[in-house]
Amino acid sequence: MFDTARFEGKRRVRGTAILAVGLSLYSAFIVWYFTVLEDVDAEEVFADAPPALIEAFGIAQLGTIEGFLGAQIYMFLWLVGLGIYFAYTGAGLVATDIEQGRMDLLGVFPISRARLLSEKFAALIVPLLVLNLVVGVVIYVLVLGIGESVDPVRLIMAHVLSIPYLLVCAAIGMLLSVVVDRASIAERSAMGLIFLLWLGDSVVSGAGDYSWLAYLSPTYYYEPTPVLIDGSYELLHSLVLLGIFAGLFVISIMLFKRRDL
């Protein structure tokens, strides 16, 4: 049972470990940088910046450690960086195996295609959980290390709420992977799409009449900074993300069952 998930999960361990170290180092740099910037009034620095930019980078709350982490790590790393990473990884699930001739052997395994794809996707749990857990703990410890504090429950929530969002990103990648024949095209378009969705969300969110367009982007439904600052979040948004994920997942499986390998 779950042999493919186990096999693929093990293959992800190394990359996940490297990524966890990299993200931890980046987080350490950000936390250290906060101590340097403590005396600078961020709002003043960015006073002339366009509102969309201030919105996109959460500049308004840069003065507190929560706001700073929210903008520099959760918006930048989790929402954009990991969003793109999971979309990229999802886009490689099927397309690279087909391109490199591995799907021939997997396709004759005595398991259904639905199960094959589900198990391959399930292996993404490894980076999803490890990165959230390791980097979350690292950030918490580092913040304590510089003599600041962050509410652990809010920190945990910021990570937990990222999971539905990252699942959607991975599922967008998986759908592209099933539809597109060439891995590089699937991967690049998945990465580009997440970036564009995030950009679109940022640009239209302060744009009055068109602000509803932001609803189309999964990035709209994951807002780590408010969670960190005052613990507020919309459960409905997470449910929307889970719904989108389920839809993308089902469509991917249906298309994968039908396509030629």
Binding site: D3, T4, R6, F7, R11, D97, Q100, G101, R102, M103, D104, L105, G107, V108, F109, P110, I111, S112, R113, K257, R258, D260, L261
Partner: protein, 303 residues
């Protein structure tokens, strides 16, 4: 019941033909050869039979399972081994890791035995493998769960002659154990050595399907004669004489008629030497594929 039954199987990739109206059966315990040059549709046919491609039209059953029915085919796949033409393994993993994965999904009751016969360096990462080593790893994964049907797509490409011989021997033993084998190749000598029956694919169609001996009989005899000028002319004019090569004092041709007529004609002339043999399978192949690539008849002076 036949192990593989193919009925009018057609597969198009958009407008591009993969196979067209393919029909054949492979009986249980038989080694069936799928012969054809690269691009003839062998791999398409095989991949369609294994459910990797869905047929455009037509039907087929493999070990009794309808290839269009996923759940039936999954059951059948437990008893199928497959060695694809192009072997993609995860380059960063070792042979052992790959085999462990295949074992967990399919089973491995013959793994140890196969590793003694075929000897890829299983402790090393695949990226360091030669094509022969990859092929051997592929052979092991195809047979390790002791399947009833094994589908081999160009199995010997990359194997050195010694390993190739060992593999051929292994296949004969497998056949004697009752394993059904579908074997695709573009190498005639290989098919001739191993297969009980052969289907020749050309441009996506099955051109001929005969037991090899029948095929050889039907495709005539190769006749070499040293005789007089008049004799050569008379023989060349005989019905059923094709592919004539003239030498200084003799000729070679393929004769598709009856022996009596041939001997009656031969007896009328002064024959210094005569040799009647089976034509090489290559020639039969050319016969079925037309002669666009056949060497043009040329006069050889040193015979």
């Amino acid at each position: 019941m036949a192990t593989i039954e193919v009925e009018n199987l057609t597969k198009y990739y958009g407008d591009i033909r993969g196979v067209d109206g393919l029909s054949f059966t492979v009986d249980s315990g038989e080694v069936f050869g799928f012969l054809g040059p690269n691009g003839a549709g062998k791999t398409t046919a095989i991949r369609t039979l294994l459910g990797l491609l869905s047929p455009t039209s037509g039907s087929a059953t493999v070990l009794g399972a309808d290839i269009r029915n996923e759940s039936e085919l999954i059951e059948a796949k437990r008893r199928i081994g497959y060695l694809p033409d192009h072997l993609g393994f995860n380059e960063e993993l070792t042979g052992t890791q790959i085999l462990d994965y295949h074992a967990s999904v399919k089973g491995e009751n013959r793994r140890a035995e196969l590793l003694e016969l075929f000897t890829p360096p299983v402790d090393r990462a695949i990226r360091g493998y030669s094509s022969g080593n990859k092929r051997m790893l592929g052979i092991i994964q195809a047979f390790m769960h002791d399947p009833d049907l094994v589908v081999l797509d160009e199995p010997t490409s990359g194997l050195d002659p010694l390993k190739q011989e060992r593999f051929n021997e292994f296949l004969r033993e497998e056949r004697d154990r009752g394993t059904t084998i579908l074997f695709s190749s573009h190498i005639l000598s290989e098919v001739r050595q191993i297969c009980d029956r052969v289907g020749i694919l050309r441009d996506g169609k099955l051109v001929e399907l005969e037991e090899i001996e029948t095929l050889l009989n039907r495709s005539g005899k190769r006749v070499r004669v040293q005789t007089t000028h008049d004799g050569r002319e008379a023989l060349a004019a005989l019905d059923g004489v094709i592919d004539i090569y003239q030498f200084d004092d003799g000729m070679q041709f393929i004769y598709t008629g009856g022996y009596n007529t041939l001997f009656a004609e031969l007896s009328k002339h002064d024959i210094q030497e005569a040799d009647i043999s089976e034509p090489p399978l290559e020639d039969i192949f050319l016969h079925y594929y037309g002669d666009e690539s056949a060497p043009t008849a040329e006069v050889s002076s040193d015979v």
